[in-house]
Amino acid sequence: MFSNDSPIYLQLFQKLALDIVTGKYKAGEKIPSVRELSSIYKVNPNTVQKALNELEGVDLIYTERTNGKFVTSNKKKIDSYLQKMAKDKTVFYLNDMKNLGYSYKEIISIIERIK
């Protein structure tokens, strides 16, 4: 599930962020507990806690004191995080293509052809 060569908590954070923006965990919905996530993803509960702290840091989830953690009910926040992810992936792709020596025009024509 996770690769050993980058921080596990960041990989778990990205996985959970993806689950939120793609609606596996819906706005306002409770997410599984630290224990449950630890068991699902077979990682240390401390690692889960760190991933959840990151998610809270980007406002995708919030803590209700005794009830656990919930996905934000603010759909705009989820949507803007989705856009951020899409943008990051695009920038990553464009950089790769530029390194291969392609111009924007050529990249766009490749995309048109594959589509």
Binding site: N4, D5, P7, S39, N44, T47, K50
Partner: protein, 230 residues
């Protein structure tokens, strides 16, 4: 700090095995003690458990010197099979229950139930992997502050390794720490909070696993191989 190791030295005859070891380990973490064969892992673990005596230095477990009090709060899985193989699982559970105040029999039965083991079965009828699972279940059924597992996955197949890791994770309770030694790093590194590298009787690294990955872009396994290239 849960475990304090100060200036610990140990010799076997003239051979220096541990050379001035210093470590302070906190509660609530899963910590890997990683080193090659013969690096001093098992000697250090035996000192913490009082199976060997110190030449120099001090070891404190939750403020206690190694002794009766420290043994109450440490649950230890030795490297070698140590249970009487002619006893049934039930007898061994009763024995653990008599021996340790903090042994939870119900938990032991529950863990063994998941393994499809009949409690009347003798250890001598079981495979090596199965025996290791039974021993781990017993050790994890004590409500301890520090679990010390010496090579919990030595010589078992990958499916058994996964089972052992799951058992460790599922029974890791807040407030306790797990110190586990291994040289099979890639199998266990994803569950570790912190790693200790030991080589030739000295601690060469002690850090958070994710921090090491972040700083190097490499796995703990790769870092280990680079540090200790033969």
């Amino acid at each position: 700090m849960l475990l304090e190791i100060k200036n610990v030295c140990k010799k076997y005859g003239k051979k220096e095995i541990l050379k001035d070891i210093n470590l302070s380990l906190p509660s609530g973490k899963i910590i890997g003690l990683l080193g090659k064969n013969g690096s001093g892992k098992t000697t250090l673990i035996k000192l913490i458990n009082g199976l060997l005596s110190l030449d120099k230095g001090e070891i404190l477990i939750d403020g206690n010197k190694v002794g009766v009090e420290s043994k109450k709060i440490i649950s230890y899985l030795p490297e070698r099979n140590y249970l009487n193989v002619h006893k049934s699982v039930k007898d061994i559970i009763d024995y653990f229950g008599d021996f340790y105040e903090n042994f939870d029999k119900d938990k032991a039965y529950k863990l063994l139930d998941n393994l499809d083991i009949k409690v009347g079965d003798k250890l001598s009828t079981m495979s090596k992997g199965m025996r290791e699972k039974v021993e781990l279940a017993l050790v994890m059924s004590r409500k301890a502050k520090l679990y010390i597992l010496d090579e919990p996955m030595g010589g078992v197949d990958p499916a058994t390794r996964d089972y052992i890791l799951d058992t460790i994770l599922n029974n890791f309770n807040e407030g306790a720490s797990i110190l586990m030694s291994t040289h099979m790093i890639s199998d266990i590194e994803r569950v570790l909070d912190e790693v200790i590298f030991i080589n030739d009787g000295k601690i060469t690294r002690y850090d958070e696993a994710d921090k090491l990955r972040k700083n190097s872009g490499k796995s703990i396994d790769e870092i280990f191989r680079e540090d200790f290239k033969c």
